[in-house]
Amino acid sequence: MNDSMIQMLQGYLQLATDRQQIITANMANVDTPGYHSRDINFQQAMQDVMDQSGTMQLEPATEEVQGLPERPDGNDVNVDRESMLMSETQLQYQMGVQLIKSEFHTLYTAIKD
């Protein structure tokens, strides 16, 4: 049983949740004038999780997405982009959950046999 593996997967799930919330906020603000899409650098944040496993995990920094065309009301939310990212993040989350389940299954096998 690899304890740090579970911890890392926990960090991964937390990160996926955080990103999903940012995407949700972008979708919610699709009609808010002047709103700019936000996102996190997933790779950078995952690297941080792996470097500092065990220490308290802070929320990753969000930044405005550059290069999206702005509507006349100053809003630059792209629904297609957000929908795609939402499905992607959902699948990433699913993968994390399956990996955690398999870790626990390994432990269960060791106990049973």
Partner: protein, 149 residues
């Protein structure tokens, strides 16, 4: 931040879009209303959305202190404003609301604009409803970790 905050953000958007659809429906329904309690024709109304909630730093700060703060990215309908476009005057001498020259003030409402606005609100509502479904599925998956394999 958390999965349940996510649903809160989507729910705030659902509420805002529903109110927007309500205001638009009221505009459509009153497109020919020439007489109101305030006097004069019905005035077209518009909603104002704004983004509320904490910045990421503040949300961490509040998580450590108290609960009940709105999650980052929540949408709020801040106010409903009257459209100040002057009313359209139509010549209808027989109408009881006609002025001394026989003209009746009708609200400046274009049904096309309202229909498009209504469609936009419906689509945004659907988008956020599907976001809630996604969040629900994620919660369901986390619960499945508990199930013995």
């Amino acid at each position: 931040m958390g999965i349940f905050d996510m649903m809160g953000v989507s729910a705030s958007a659902l509420a805002a879009e529903r109110q927007r659809a309500e205001v638009t429906s009221a505009n459509l329904a009153n497109a020919e209303t020439t007489h109101t309690d305030q006097g004069g024709p019905y005035q077209r109304k518009e909603v104002v959305f704004s983004s509320a909630g904490d910045s990421p730093f503040q949300s961490v700060f509040h998580q450590m202190g108290s609960f009940g703060q709105p999650a980052a990215g929540t949408v709020q309908l801040t106010e409903i404003v009257n459209d100040t476009t002057p009313p359209v005057m139509r010549y209808e001498p027989g109408n009881p609301d006609a002025n001394k020259d026989g003209y009746v003030a009708y609200p400046a409402i274009n049904p096309m604009t309202e229909m498009v606005d209504l469609m936009d609100a419906t689509r945004a509502y659907q988008l956020n409803a599907s976001a809630i479904s996604a969040a629900k599925q994620m919660v369901q998956e986390s619960i499945d970790i508990l199930k013995s394999s």
